[in-house]
Amino acid sequence: MTVEIFTSWGNVIREPQESAPLPSRHADFPAAPALSSLLPYGNGRSYGDSCLNVGAGLIPTRSLDRFISLDVTSGLVTCEAGILFDEMFQVIMPAGWFVPVTPGTRFVTLGGAIANDVHGKNHHAVGTIGRYIVRFELLRSDGQRLICSPTENSGLFSATIGGLGLTGIITWAQLQLRRIAGPLMTVDTIRFANLDEFLRLQAESDREFEYTVAWVDCLGTGRQLGRGWFERANHSPTSAGLPQERPRGLNVPFAPPFSLVNAASLRVFNTLYYHRPRSQRGDRWFESYFYPLDSIGNWNRLYGPRGLYQYQCVIPDAAGREGTAALLNTIARSGQGSFLAVLKVFGALESPGMLSFPRKGLTLALDFPNRGQSLERLFAELDAIVRASGGRLYPAKDGRMPPELFREGFPRWREFTQYIDPRCSSSFWRRVMDGA
């Protein structure tokens, strides 16, 4: 066992934690009797404290990165849970397959994608990744190795999807891939002037475009409230091969002494971005379409040594437009927004995950430099709007939501607790269970 500094993507928490290694998928659950609890830790791309276990231990899983099988005719891939999407792509894409659902970074592990039941720009069309997990093996601290699927150990299956690593270690998983002709995406980019125009664009696009998402200028107020760019895309039917030379991205080698994301830089960036040249249609590499931020390595460091918070909520359909408008108004008034305010309509397809975040409605996600108290005051205002509209926050992005907001937003938390492995816990879980 060694002590290392583990962080999450938000870089707010930088604490030494013990690591209890798992040398292979055949190895036993680490004993680590000196540690009060353990938590599987993938690639640390959750933003807050859901992948951390301060004062206790982590089980790094990146070393579990072997493929087990790939059926190139049916698109069924089985691999160890520590493999990154990026590593999976090297093998599945030349064979004509792609993941059915991808988050905004390809540097997540498969296990992490399951534990957070990730969604992508195609949620309205296909739902979350949990719907495509055929089965997985769960290693429990009592030594049991359980195959979980919708029909076998179905309670644990449903608890583990979106279960934040608390139900044990996913050693391997089987995923149903989706066919693609090649790595290109056909993308339409359309400017919209306000929230109503966005909703109209979504309504006219959601049948014919698998992927839709919008970027919103979170500094716009009044008639400009909710202005931005709408992107809709499909996999291109052209079959170009993978690029031979991957473009080398930029990297942020260290955190500057203060956040480069501030009121001045934001206003300039957002205004320029909104007034970019007119709408266009074109083919783009999948990497630049799905993962624009991955091309800037460690972009989180731009937020300085105090790190960043992401706020991602979903407002259920009935209150969607009003709730989102209220959120955007509040953020614009605060002047604390971020480069990236992402707005997306979630569809009605249900996930098997007990604590799955997405539900039918509108989701808004923004990054904020960590400014301490003034930011928490803004968050409290946003929380009130989310709560009033019956919404909830995404645990994968959260590092601060009040326990009551979590428990109201995820009413199945009580049912979930019976599936938690007695040796597993996390900083997030202890926080949101406070007072329960």
């Binding site: 060694t2 040398p23 055949h26 070393s63 072997r66 493929f67 087990i68 691999c79 093998v91």
Partner: protein
Amino acid sequence: MKKILVMGAGSAIAESTARLFAQRGDSLFLVGRKADVLESMCADLRVRGAKAVGMQVMDANDFGAHEAMLNGAETALGGLDTVLIAHGTLSDQQACQASVEQTLHELNTNGVSVVALLTRIAARFEQRRTGTIVVISSVAGDRGRQSNYVYGSAKALVTAFTSGLRQRLYPLGVAVITIKPGFVDTPMTAAFPKGALWAKPQQIANGIVSAVDRGSATVLYLPSFWRLIMFIIRSIPEAVFRKLKL
């Protein structure tokens, strides 16, 4: 398409290297001590594109098993043109100082077993006048240091032996490549605190594969800055070196 034998296949450097070969459609025969690790590697390499994959469980210190293993590898691959010798253990220096048995065991694992294998492989490749032999030695073999001189002296044996073997086989068209990795972040070194000098096994693997492709019979420090570091360490006069806590 190469036909490659990997000794110590379960080591992190060997596995990373094997993946690069597999992606190109080469055939691989894996040898190691743990059956479950070899089996899961075989499946992985097949998915990654290896043309054929075989395996055998063997302890490198079982010298009597070497010849049969080599025959098995040649049969399974339909020939053999490349060998990667990557097995080894990081010796516990303190334990070795207290035990002759432990010291000899470490010397066997990291040094003598490599010599035994190389002797048999050299004979095969010498006859055919072709082939590439890659051996993982270590910067630790460049100069004995009190913190790990048992491991270091085993690697010094490997370095000196491969140097001579390279001269002998070079005119015959057989390339012997000595790899000297510096600090590599692997399960073998999990207990060490990691600093700026540490490399990932993937970096070492990239260096190995490009050396095999060039077929350059040479000594390669990986990453290359270790050549300079070790030059300096070797240049320290003994009168100074004996006082250092290295």
